[in-house]
């Protein structure tokens, strides 16, 4: 177990190398010269040259790649080019609102869709099953943009149930601000989740051990909640945990429209101002998170399924 975990942690090394390579190619090789943007409309050629020097854009490519790798392993991302802010600080600042929005939304969405999918697989093949499924899918079939525009206008402005936009730090102050975007988030994730969970659960329902359970005289509900769910857990865990890295980016659109100062906005701004260090930082962090989480899933497996042994 421990060995396994260590080995998986070591796996970070090649992945980070890969990630930093992709980033390096995307931003140091392919994309354009940031200095013009960074210096504003009146910049002079000379000043731009100076800045290029300062940002180390004239270094040989290998060194530049090495810098990316270095920051990937030291987590020392330095300072943003555009905002001159310390990146780690920026990210901490942004992580909070992003998580305030996405974590509750994510949790609720997951639980909700788990419940729904249990219900529908209980009534599998029946009308309600179809209806609920269609509803969920219909939910995702509308563009997020459409939701945002309408909901913000209707629920926040017309009915005044929620704050229109903005964010306040600290619980529970942030709730009125994140409630509406969270609801949209849930609406959007319900569809895929229910669809997936339902499949997984149905896969299990047709296994022999379910027949055995029935032969014992167990009621369908117990079978579903105890025997089936427990077995369906593995794919569900995977599915759920793998989504988490994308959560730290927050729901980019939502953050923008509801002026939640989260990482999504930060990343977008960075991209819009050629603020490469920030982008790199975001990419690296999320990939680290990804690896850690997939490790977490593996560990969770062992609890969900005794057959899984980490070696």
């Amino acid at each position: 177990m421990i060995k396994y975990i260590i080995r998986r942690l070591l796996y970070l090394i090649p992945v980070l190398l890969g990630v930093s390579f992709i980033i390096f190619v995307l931003f140091n090789l392919v994309s354009g010269d940031p200095t013009a943007v960074l210096l504003g409309k009146n910049a002079s050629a000379r000043q731009m040259a100076e800045l290029r020097e300062q940002l180390g854009l004239n270094k040989p490519l290998l060194d530049q790649y090495f810098d990316v790798v270095k920051s990937a392993f030291t987590f020392d991302f330095g300072y943003s080019w555009a905002t001159k802010q310390e990146i780690s600080h920026m990210i901490l600042q942004g992580a909070y609102p992003s998580l305030c929005l996405s974590v509750p939304a994510f949790v609720i969405a997951t639980i909700l869709s788990l419940i729904i999918s249990l219900v529908v697989s209980f009534y599998r093949g029946k009308g309600i099953d179809l209806f609920v499924r269609i509803m969920c899918i219909a939910g995702v079939s509308v563009s997020a943009l459409a939701y945002i525009l309408f909901f913000q206008y209707f629920f926040a402005y017309k009915l005044g149930w929620f704050e229109i936009s903005g964010f306040e730090y600290g619980f529970p102050d942030f709730i009125p601000f994140v409630a509406l975007p969270a609801i949209i988030f849930i609406l959007l994730s319900l569809g895929p989740d229910v669809r997936f969970f339902r499949t997984v659960i149905l896969d299990e329902i047709y296994q022999d051990y379910v027949r055995t359970a029935r032969a014992k005289g167990l009621s369908e509900v117990v079978i579903l909640l105890k025997h089936v769910l427990r077995n369906a857990m593995i794919p569900i865990i995977t599915y759920v945990v793998i989504q988490i890295p994308s959560l730290i980016l927050g729901a980019l659109l939502l953050e923008n429209f509801f002026s939640i100062p989260g990482l999504g906005g930060i990343t977008l701004n960075a991209l819009n101002s050629s603020d490469f260090p920030v982008i790199k930082a975001m990419a690296i962090l999320s990939s680290v998170l990804y690896i850690l989480l997939s490790l977490l899933t593996d560990v969770l497996y062992t609890f969900a399924d005794p057959r899984v042994k980490l070696k």
Binding site: Y209, R211, T212, K216, G217, S219, H227, R230, P306, R307
Partner: protein
Amino acid sequence: MTSPLLSVRNLVVEFQTGEGITRAVNNVSFDIPAGKTIGIVGESGSGKSVTSLAVMGLLQKPAAKIPQGEIIFNGQDLLKFNDSQMRAIRGNQISMIFQEPMTSLNPVFKVGDQIAETIRIHRNISNKEAWDRAVDLMNQVGIPNPALSAHKYPHEMSGGQKQRVMIAMAIACEPKLLIADEPTTALDVTIQKQVLELLHKLQQQYKMSMMFITHDLGVIGDIADDVVVMYRSNVVEQNKAQEIFYTAKHPYTKGLLACRPKLGANPRRLLTVSDFMDDQGVEKHVSPERVVVFDKEQEKEKSSEILLEVKNLVTQFPIKGGFFGRTVDHFKAVNDVSFTLKKGKTLGLVGESGCGKTTLGRSILRLVEPSSGSIIYNGKDITHVYAEELRLLRRKMQIIFQDPYSSLNPRMTISEILTEPLNIHNVGNSKQERLDMAKQLFEKVGLKLSHLNRYPHEFSGGQRQRICIARALMLRPEFVICDESVSALDVSIQAQVLNLLLDLQEEFHLTYIFISHDLSVVNFIADEVGVMNGGKIIEMDKASSIYKNPKEAYTRALLSAIPKGEVKSDLSSMV
């Protein structure tokens, strides 16, 4: 005569399928008296399992419908019961054991819990008590140190043990009726025997009635009081066990009895159902020469030249471990095996699962790379030939796998499957020519030419196995390994396939290695028999003699495990 515990009256079960309505059970009636064991015999698809599920009320609604019939249990018609009533019965008064112990237990719960659960549903007692009872049950079904094993998960147990757990679960609430659906089919012979004995013991002990479902009359000989024979979703015969075994009336029953190879003397070709009746089910007279017992001793030497010689063959698999999954140790699946095989002869390899017989077969074909030792084929060492040479070798040496379902590519038509080997070795000049060769063989293995363009899933198990055989023979090999090739088949089908193999052997002068866990089968088909255990051949002898005077204890165990295919000597002794 008291009223029977369970009596099924003109039961009809129909299934709604894509094609329309099909009748799985047609107007079936039988009784199960209290404390008696009823055997229900029939080949797969004869409707026996469906009947049992109907009794349990476990048929998949809405696909399955029961338009008519009654299932009277304790004087009440179960078919009139609603769900909750049925649940009260299930596992409590009627319980069931299934064929597949591997998949029938929930992999993520401790077996102890799974047994205890049954109890807790129907008896309101504390978890603690339930658990203790579970342990006690596991003790009764003969699981070594139950207190510990109760904490195990299914995957930590052997197939036999799993089945015992299933049994423990079934008898947990001391049901009045125990339904056992092919409980031993998936198990090795020796285990099979133990399980049978266990079931019988428990049945006596708890005064249960038992409904024992199997495709193999031989199996229930030892335990059944009455036998119901089902054929094509009808009951064709039911009677006391003795009557069935000694004076079977229905030709199908006779066929079933005859088609099981006996230890020792057998006809040259096994009798099959088709010898007793034609497709319409009309009885026909069995031609006398078919029943003449054939003695391998008298058979003159086909040839003396050695086709295959295996010297000290070792095949081992690495055991991964350590920090970066390095190989820390090796598991010797085949451990220093040597034998020789003459042209045109058949070598039978017997042994229980995990004894390495399959690996041995595959190593000889170089489907698995042997670690050491040598394989000399036609005087040529083929242990280390590669690429082209190996490819050519494949033309001479072929294999027929155990599972007729997974060994055919579901996405290819039969003609594609059959012509593929020809394409690989570009035998035959034109597509047409290859097709003709395929047709030829296809007929030889007794299949209709018209089916040549169908897909595997449209054939029955037996037919598929025939297809596999045909595929193996497409390249006209000299040497074929049959790896458990008949184990997955119903006895009746098994007989046909065995006969086919023999026919083909004669026609094409084939040399077989026949791998099976069933000594009687091996004994029937093989000239020489090797008994394998723990990767070694522990005993090797003429087929005709090995069952007469087995030297090794293990061999004797195997022999004694084989169902006699006769009614139990006397019931009283076991009561």
